[in-house]
Amino acid sequence: MGARVVVEREIAIPNKEGLHFRPIMQFVDIAQRFHAGVTVHCEDRRADGRSPMEMLMLVATHGTKVRVVAEGADAQECVAALAGLVESGFGEL
């Protein structure tokens, strides 16, 4: 197995409607393409980045900061891809 790499990044949710259905599905879709495990933290809540249910339960509204943590060999690429998605406002900006 590759080296255990942990990468994290804090990002504010830029789109008006927050982390709703479409963004969550996009996020989960990308997270699933990597080997790294992804955890998303929002205030005191945390979610598995591959679980649409848990992601919804973050109730991350517009402007809220989320911390994306990836752990695994491709953690770097994984966080870069996810951060790119979030920062783009999930294509909704």
Binding site: G18, H20, F21, M25, D48, S51, L56, V59, T61
Partner: protein
């Protein structure tokens, strides 16, 4: 603490746990299972999740075709949510570790999720709680299969919180367990409100989205007199309302003491107070409240509460039970008044574009003669039990009355031939609830044995206002001068020919209208049993002379606001004889 304002639909105060129908349509009993049952519960869960996922996938495909991607994305998410291994794991854990049934474990998990959304300030995300409800219901339906426990089988007293209650739902509720109602839609005269008043259950309607704001199990206060609902009350509110509840009960007890007193004005003019009922058991309650007869027995609930039309025997049993409960007192039995907002399951999918003006009531019966004849047979057979009178509803033309009477004559002939006993001289009357019938009242008195003014429909048709549509409900008022004039016209026509006339709408049981109605010449009023003592109290504290002066004055007003203010003042001015 959350306070919500709606429309007062049924007076009184109720305090108890909320039972949210929208989300808890399936009531899940908390049961611990034997460890041996765990695998079966997990299999049940898996099957339900798979079936739900399949259903949502179909919905998504249909939504994409018909409504576009925006809607499809919702179902796509539901599908992913249901398929989420984390969801399954959390439910399986609860089944295995806490030995809950699959249904209970799933409902608990979903409830926790829903709670989290409750305090979300963002209105868009907050709305997602509805999606969680939707997912929950879908999966629960599959888990429970046909063995769901529905609202008809409540086991503890609760306050029902719902979008709406259909009349058939309302009667299937076990009233011993229903403390109050908080309802999203409706108005004072929607059927749900009428039923609540009839049952003496406090209710507030037109609350908007009360179902979304209240959690199941939360303590609720229903102030049915002022149209207020309080969720999760603070100690002070709770104490205040508990005191009010006691006060209300005391007042009710005091009014009940009037039961054996006659309904007679201070200057000695008697009135007859009758009861409107919907189910046989109510007849007994009506007489406990001091009713002198049944002025309106609505027969349609028999049809609304079962998937198939009731047999002749079933109808006969119900009618006979009412007749027996009434003893020597008169019973006016109204023939089937289905349609509009009272659709029987058997009426099928024929939806009128404008149901209030569509194929309803007597029109429906005259088109379905086989069913109507069975109904009339059952009525006639029960007639031998006492003083029965038959009333046809929704008459607009003389031809309809004649057709109905011809059908009745045919049924009598059949019974005669079969040697089945019935009373040949049962009086036949009509409801006056269309402006057409009101205007031609003098003509109808030639062919009808009695008239009964149904003010709910008469008001709706005269003012062209749907009483259940909250956007126009404010335009609905029985005290509109146009309605009052029609009522007056009917009373005069009936009195000229010495034909008995009753008023059986909501108006009859509303205290502020009482003096006006007496003054207009009505001597028979039929109302919800619970209102009888109140109306009797009004009658006993006024004089006919005064009532007539009120009626004369009201007939000069040209606006409903003026009428209402005047009647309110006159009502407040009353000095109930036994007020202590």
């Amino acid at each position: 603490m959350i306070t919500k304002k709606g429309i007062n639909a049924s007076p009184g105060v109720a305090i108890g746990p909320a039972f949210v129908l929208d989300t808890e349509e399936y009531r899940i009993p908390q049961r611990t299972i034997d460890p041996a049952q765990i695998p079966a519960q997990v299999r049940n869960l898996d099957a339900a999740l798979a079936a739900s996922r399949q259903e949502v996938a179909e919905l998504r495909a249909a939504a994409a075709r018909k409504l576009g991607d925006e809607t499809a994305v919702i179902f796509a998410f539901h599908e992913q949510f249901i398929a989420d291994p984390k969801l399954r794991t959390s439910v399986v854990d609860a089944i295995e570790q806490q030995r809950h049934t699959a249904a209970y474990a799933f409902a608990q998990i979903m409830n926790q999720r829903q709670r989290l959304f409750r305090n979300v300030p963002d209105p868009y995300l907050k709305e997602r709680v509805r999606d969680l409800f939707d997912i929950e219901r879908r999966v629960l339906r599959h888990i429970l299969g046909r063995a769901r426990e529905d609202v008809a089988r409540l086991t503890d007293p609760v306050i029902i919180v719902a979008e709406d209650i259909t009349p058939s739902q309302a009667i299937s509720l076990d009233r011993r367990h229903v403390l109050g109602f908080a309802i999203n839609v409706g108005g004072q005269t929607s059927h749900m409100a009428i039923i609540a008043r009839m049952l003496g259950i406090p209710a507030v309607v037109a609350l908007g989205d009360v179902t979304a704001d209240i959690l199941g199990g939360e303590t609720l206060i229903i102030d049915g007199s002022n149209g207020i609902v309080i969720a999760d009350p603070d100690a002070e509110s709770l104490a205040r309302y508990q005191a009010q509840q006691h006060e209300y009960e005391r007042l009710t007890t005091r009014l009940r003491a009037l039961r054996d007193q006659p309904a007679i004005t201070r200057d000695g003019v008697p009135a007859q107070l009758l009861a409107n009922i919907e189910v046989p058991e109510e007849a007994r309650i009506a007489f406990e409240f001091g009713a002198e007869g049944i002025g309106l027995y609505r027969t349609e609930l028999l049809f609304l509460s079962s998937p198939r039309p009731p047999t002749e025997e079933q109808q006969y049993e119900a009618f006979r039970a009412v007749m027996r409960a009434a003893g020597d007192h008169p019973v006016i039995i109204r023939t089937l008044d289905l349609g509009a907002d009272k659709l029987a399951p058997t009426m099928g999918g024929q939806h009128d574009h404008n149901p209030a003006l569509g194929l309803r009531s007597l029109r429906y019966c005259l088109l379905h003669l086989d069913m109507f004849k069975v109904h009339l047979r059952a009525i006639l057979r029960a007639s031998v039990e006492g003083d029965m009178r038959i009333m046809f509803p929704m008459i607009a033309t003389l031809m309809e009355l004649r057709q109905a009477k011809t059908t009745l004559a045919d049924v009598k002939e059949d019974l005669e031939e079969e040697g089945i006993p019935f009373r040949r001289d049962v009086p036949v009357g009509i409801m006056i609830e269309t402006p057409a019938a009101a205007m031609l009242a003098s003509i109808f008195t030639r062919e009808a044995g009695f008239l009964s003014i149904g003010t709910n429909d008469l008001t709706q048709y005269t003012l062209a206002v749907d009483r259940a549509n909250e956007r126009v409900a404010h335009l609905y008022s029985a005290h509109n001068p146009a309605v009052i004039r029609l009522i007056h016209q009917v009373i005069r026509a009936a009195r000229r020919r010495d034909v008995p006339v009753t008023l059986c709408g909501e108006m009859a049981g509303t205290p502020i209208y009482c003096q006006l109605l007496l003054g207009l010449g009505l001597q028979r009023l039929s109302m919800a049993p619970a209102n009888i003592p109140l109306i009797k109290g009004v009658i006993r504290s006024t004089t006919m002379e005064h009532c007539q002066a009120i009626a004369r004055k009201v007939m000069q007003f040209d606006g409903d606001r003026q009428v209402l203010n005047y009647l309110r003042d006159e009502f407040r001015g009353l000095d109930p004889e036994d007020e202590t």
